[in-house]
């Protein structure tokens, strides 16, 4: 019963991710695109956990942690580049 609800919610979040991608496409400034990409990272991390649990492949839950970590570093790196024009 719970599995069905989780599957429906996964599909819903997947669709919302694509709507968020629209903001990354049209966003007038670079910061707008960063906001959208940051949000997409969180959503994808959530989707990975949900799919791993629904299909009973629990070893893939750790993948989500690494994905969230890489997304955070990417956001910090690009924002720093936008702010200073270099990464140092």
């Amino acid at each position: 019963m719970v599995a069905n609800v989780v599957i429906v919610c996964t599909i819903l979040i997947l669709l919302m991710t694509f709507v968020g991608l629209m903001r990354a496409l049209i966003g007038p400034t670079a910061a707008d695109r960063m906001v959208a990409i940051n949000m997409i990272t969180t959503k994808v991390a959530t989707i990975i956990v949900m799919i791993a649990l629904v299909t009973a492949q629990e070893q893939y839950v750790s993948v989500s942690l690494v994905y969230a970590l890489i997304g955070f570093i990417a956001t910090i790196g690009v924002s720093r580049y936008l702010m200073k024009g270099k990464l140092k």
Binding site: M1, V2, V5, V6, C9, L12, I13, M16, V19, G20, M22, R23, T29, A31, D32, M34, V35, A36, N38, M39, T42, K43, A45, T46, V49, M50, L53, E58, V61, S62, S64, L65, A68, L69, F72, T75, I76, S79, R80, L82, M83
Partner: protein, 104 residues
């Protein structure tokens, strides 16, 4: 007990999806960068947290759910930090642009 936990899990997952939906609508509708950050940061952090908690209720107390709790804490710490950094870079861009307009 099992049924109660399942119902709790369903409530948490569905309300988490609702808050993520609110975040996406905010991302599309809000007028500028800072307002968009308001919508996405709060709603995404809360939505992801609710969904993870629901999944933990569904799974029971195993090693997998401990890892999910670690991811939950990690996202709750990093999401506001990333938002702060994006806001800082956008604010500096805004400041230099206004200064250039004043100078011209």
């Amino acid at each position: 007990m099992r049924i109660a936990l399942d119902i709790l899990a369903i409530i948490f997952v569905v309300s988490g999806s609702f808050f993520i939906l609110v975040g996406v609508i905010g991302l599309i509708r809000m007028p500028d960068v800072f307002c968009r950050l308001h919508a996405t940061t709060k709603c995404d952090t809360m939505g992801a947290g609710l969904i993870y908690l629901g999944l933990v209720f569904w799974q029971g107390l195993t090693f997998t759910s401990l890892v999910i709790l670690v991811i939950l804490v990690f996202i709750w710490l990093t999401n506001p930090t990333a938002a702060h950094y994006i806001a800082k870079s956008a604010y500096q861009r805004l400041k230099t642009e206004t200064e250039e307009e004043d100078g011209a």
